[in-house]
Each structure stands twice: as C-alpha cells, then as structure tokens.
Amino acid sequence: MIANSDKPVVLAVDDTPENLDVVKGVLGDDYHVKAAVNGKIALKIAETQSPDLILLDIMMPDMDGYEVCQRLKANPVTANIPVIFLTAKDQDTDQAKGFELGAADYIQKPVNAMILRSRTKTHVQLKKNLDALQEAYALINAQKQRMQDELNVGKDIQMSMLRRDYPLFPDNDEFSVHAQLEPAREVSGDFYDLFFVNPAELCLVVADVSGKGVPAALFMAVSKTLFSARAIDDRSPASIMTRVNNELSKNNPSCMFVTVFLAILNIETGELRYSNAGHNPPLLKRADGQVSVLKKIHGPVAGAIEEIAYGEDRINLGQGDVLLSFTDGVTEAMNTENELYSDARLEAWFADTSGLTAEAWVKELVTSVSEFVGAAEASDDITIMALSYDTEPGEKTQDLYSITIPNELKALNSVVEGLEGFAEGKAIQPGVIQKLCIAFDELLNNIISYGYVDDSPHEIFVDVDYRNDELIATIKDDGIPFNPFMGDDPDISLSVDDREIGGLGIHLVKQMMDEVSYMRFTDMNMVRLVIKTTAQG
C-alpha cells in the first residue's frame, strides 16, 4: 500500500497486533496509519516522521505508555504531537496521571469506532491549528526583528546627526558646553545643535519635535538642517525662527511641529540673544548662585502656523554663569508613583548643585532624573545642554563693513572704494584688500550681468567682517539660483591665439581666497569668502 502524503499521519502504538489492526480498520481510509509494537519503536517513528497524532496503549512490556508519553513530551521535536491514550483501564487515577504527563485525551478499550474517529479528527485538527499559529508567530517575530533592525539603523543615522565629538569646542577658553540626548525609543524627535555662525558667535539649539518614532525623526532631520542653514547668514534668533517657521509650516501635511530654544552667544562679549518657540524655558544660574528662568516665550511652536513674527531677547552672561537648556523629557520624567520630575524639582536641583563643569552639569542631571524615575520606563527623550561662560566679558570688538548696492555695474566702484576706506589704518596688508576687490569685481559683475531675468531694480548685500586676522565676506543677491564655483577651471596653458577668457574671473577668486563657498536659500544666493589678513605669501 502506498502512503498518501496528503493524509494526516497517525501513529498507533500497541503491543497487540490485533489492536493495531482495529485502529487501521477504523482510521485507514482517512489517515495514514503507522504502527509500532513497542515504546522504543514508537519514539523512533515519532522523532523521524513527525506524525500528527499518536494513539498510545498504556499497558506494554519494557516501556509502558506513561514512559513513552513522558519521553515524547521531553523531546522538543516530539513535544507538540498530541497523544491520546488507548487503554482498557478506566480508573480516574490513571487518567489523571496521563493528563499530567501531557496527554491530550483518553479513549477506552474496547474502542468505539465513532469515538475514535471523532476524537482523532478533533486532535489532528487542533494540532494543525497549533502548527499554523506557531508558523504565524514565527513570521511575526521575524518581521518584528526586521523592523527593530531598521529602527536601530534609523537611530544610528539620527544620532550621527548630533554633535557627539566630546569634548565640544576644546580650543575655546571663553566657554565650555556639553549636550546629550537620551532617546526613549529607538528613534526620537529631540535634537540639539551647536555651531559657530562666525568666529565670535556660537549658535545653540535645543528642540523637541511633536510625537516620537520615525515621523518625528524625519521632521527632526528637516528642522535641524533648516535651522543651521538659516543661522549661517542671519544674525538674529528672531529672524531665524521666523524664517524657519515659515518653511516648516508651508508644506506640512502631517501637522507636525517643533518646540525650539535658539540662542546666539557672542563669546567675546557674553551677550546672549535668544528666541523661544513654545519650548521649555531654560534656566540661568549666575556666578553668585542665583537661579532664574528665561521665561519669555517669543511665539508658538514652529511649523504650526505660517507668517508668525517671532521676537527675541538678550541677556549678558558674566564669568561663571551657567545656562541650562533641556527638553520636556526632563521635567515630565515620571517615577513608578506617577509623579513628575517637574520644573520645581529641576530648579531646586539646579540651585542646590554647584561648581560643576558643563559636562558634569549634564551628567549629574541625567543621573538625578534616572534616580528619580527608578524602575519606571523612560517615557520621553531627554535632551540636556549646559553652557558655562568662563571668561570676563570683553568689549565688543566686532568690526563690520556693510554696503547695499543696486544691480548696476557702476555701483561696483562704491563697493571697492568703501572697502579701501574700511581697511585704512588697520593691520591689513594692501594685497589682501586688492584681492578682495578683485573677487568683488568678478562676483558682483557676474551677478549684475547674468543674475536677473527681469528689468526691475534689485539690491545686493555685501558684508565684510574683520576679526581674528581674517576678512569674512558675504555677498547676497536675489537673482536666479547660481553657484559661481561650480564651473570647470579654464585651461590656462593655451597660447594667446587659443585663449578664451570665460571662467577666468572665478578661477582668480578661487585661487586668491583662502575659502570660498556658496549656499542657496529659498530666495537668495549667498557667496562666502574668507581671506587671511596676515602671513600673505
């Protein structure tokens, strides 16, 4: 007889061949019945052929049914095969012993064909359902693992967007700063940023995007990029906030938003200008120990409503002052009694703690919050930034030349003449000013000649910042998007007859400046040039 592989497999175990024949007779049409005349054979078949059901006699020589059942259940390969005891015994105690060993059911001998058929059918079906469930469960686990892996990758990418090259700004004696983000879930919506917008001004950002998970992380990435891009060419926190809010709000179908504290610190004068978009007010601890809250909120959360004009405030930091910015993950951290860490607790901690470095302020606060939370699960991202101002504020040394010109070539004269006047009496070598004049001539000529597609008047903004033995020049125009530094360099080895003049001006600029860069904003080109004022070759 050829086994039909579609039929469920039933293993019948009995030391009496006649009994096996009975089972075959009853189940043979619907099942592939395998027979074993003792426990040892039964275990072997069970392990190698994975039957869907085992009908097991109890009273057998050598190894009785109980022991067979026990061994089946102890072996992971056979543990899930349902076992039905077939026995002449009918005492309750025996049945109880069978169930204890993991049997699925009992059928009494002499076997009633109908009962055997129906119970076999039931348990084979149950086994199939169980198998299907386990398969589904394994599949779900695999999917879950894959999602987890992807979230971990997302977390790595996100964390890599944050400055973690501690200690931050080790070369600056004027201040020390430390920032840390502890994500509650794999990817988070908090972020912080720290960067110099020019050699004297440090921009600090602490922010919290609504929601958590992947959408918040994506919005975080966009927000962070917009803030750093805007801050580079804009010296006002209010203006940066206003412009970034407009960009975030414009195309925001998922209605996400971000709370932001953004400040620009002049590291020489200690002046701190800041704007707060619906964010937790930072704390300020003066050198004398007095703690205050920078309470002022200058506008709603960013990304929610277009055309909001944000405000800004300014304070002056003195030597030994500490600014502590954070996200609501700190104050809303919850312990097992459902109590919040709270603003009051934070302020008290800040007032009672003293003499720490920026890094220690952050770490001590992380410790304080995690001790408070105890065994409770972290509910939100925690971001903390501490800035300690370490110098006696100096006089403002900023030295700036600014001129706005119309888009007319003859206006170039006023730019270079103004620059020459600005440089007079300063320790700037004349060659440096000449080179910058050439750069202005080349770049402004390009903008005025090719940058505009209409005939309307336009303004071009030129700024030159002189500090730390460098001139940093920016040219901003609202012409067509154009990166002057993108083109190929000209071939300067050709003879008089073959020389083309195109591209030469930009080549001069690139060679003569120490740094050139270009950035495009929504409605503006910005070129930035840096040239050192000393040690010219």
Partner: protein
C-alpha cells in the same frame, strides 16, 4: 581712467593709473584702441600705478595682444605689483604675455 601716454622712439608707452576692473576697462580699451588705430605697432603698457587687475582687464590685455599679433606688432608689459603679478601667474598670462620688471627692461626688449 587716467592713462599717461608718451613715445620712446617707435614705442608707445601707456602708463595706467588706478585699477583695471569692470568699470575702468571700457575706458582703457577705448584709449588703447585709439592708439593702435593711429598706427602704433609697438606698445608698452606700464602697470606701475595699477593697484589691481580683474578678469575684465585681462580680457582687454588678451584682445590687445591678439590685435597686435595680427599686425605683426609687439606688446610688452612692465612693473606689476605683487597682486597683479599673482593674477598674471594664476591666469597663465605671465607666460603668454611678455612681462618685464622695469620700464627700461621692457623698452630694451623690443
């Protein structure tokens, strides 16, 4: 733009004053062309009083050199300051034009 013009034998000497950039080049171009139109074929441009030259000025020098070459004439340039010398070096003009340190050397080179 101020240009002082004189003759040294058969050489026309043009001394440029100020800067040679977008705004001054058209003026310089007109004056150089009028000198060439008058039949001068040996031209010395003295840069002693030139602060700097931008690519607009280089363009004029290239056009002048091409025009003189076409009429078998000669162009010499003298007295570059450090910045102008660097512009000539970067642009490759130092090797395609004949540049001399002093006016006398330039006159002797014709």
């Amino acid at each position: 733009m101020e240009i002082i013009e004189r003759e040294e034998g058969e050489v026309r000497v043009l001394s440029l004053v100020g800067r040679l950039d977008t705004n001054t080049t058209p003026d310089a171009e007109a004056q150089i062309n009028s000198v060439l139109d008058s039949g001068a074929n040996k031209l010395l441009i003295n840069f002693e009083n030139i602060e700097y030259v931008s690519s607009a000025g280089l363009r004029l020098l290239l056009a002048t050199a091409k025009r003189l070459k076409g009429s078998a004439g000669e162009l010499r340039i003298s007295c570059l300051n450090e910045t102008v010398q660097e512009v000539f070096d970067i642009s490759g003009f130092a090797s395609i034009l004949t540049v001399l340190a002093t006016e006398n050397e330039a006159l002797d080179a014709f």
